[in-house]
Symmetry: C2
Subunit: 183 residues, 2 copies
Amino acid sequence: MDHLMEKTIHKEEIFKGKVIDVYVEDVELPNGKTSKREIVKHPGAVAIIPITDEGKLVLVRQYRKALERVLVEIPAGKLEKNEEPAMTARRELEEETGYAAQELHHLLSFYTSPGFADEIIHLYVAKGLKKLESAAPLDDDEFVDLLEVTLEEALAMLQKQEIYDAKTAYALQYLQLQYALQK
Amino acid sequence: MDHLMEKTIHKEEIFKGKVIDVYVEDVELPNGKTSKREIVKHPGAVAIIPITDEGKLVLVRQYRKALERVLVEIPAGKLEKNEEPAMTARRELEEETGYAAQELHHLLSFYTSPGFADEIIHLYVAKGLKKLESAAPLDDDEFVDLLEVTLEEALAMLQKQEIYDAKTAYALQYLQLQYALQK
């Protein structure tokens, strides 16, 4: 794949934040010319599709500052340093929903925005959900509402653009596919 | 949803680039405390699921500098200023694959990374593909290989992590669902 590769000539650090770092790289293109690439580095994240014994989907409603609006999403959260993604998934599920999962399996991982960012999301399905007596607390800058909905209700939220993000859209399609295969 | 909202107290511009802008905002949380949000602004993009008359999927292989690796993805591209997404979809499909589509329909739109970025992808399905005699040129810093694959071949690429991004994973699941519903 060398005929597609872009070689870094110079890398400038623009910003080092709590969550993201930003770089501008001068690259040599496959044809020998040069260009600039603006790149966001992210620690990676997990997202969980929590399915209750009644077949309902557990969702969280939260304010997304980047969009200046409230979205309904599957539970998700950033990887802590040196934390295994499966551990992050259990922690975020408990913190955001108050559920512990007896079954957790990795479905797939995907980069969310390969054009400018290295964020990867590890997606899990959680079943055998048991409500915890005392739930782990949320991060102190995190505020969410909890919802338990049927697939039909979630699809109606997608129509109304209350659900509006890639990982949750993937989750809804995953459930549609499961139901279609059962028939 | 006011009980979830975060009010901007101060907004600092960190970077204005060719593709992305970066801000740090001080916000007042629902409980009256303050926090910082690191935010990436992006012009938005389209992605296209191109399906040939033989039922094959048209994919592009390209180098992604943010990941320092080659990925295989459905065709995609950023919105130009004042360009309708459907127009961008036709333009990117022609530039990246050399195909014009007789049928183009909007499937859904989703935010890719609502935790830190406002990037939205408008996803289209393209059918009735006709190879153009003289294809529109790619951007001068864009280099891609073209692939036409069956769903099974694409799923094997997902297994091998050659396909590894949200929009393309969504596209493959979309095709799986279409096939499941036909049976």
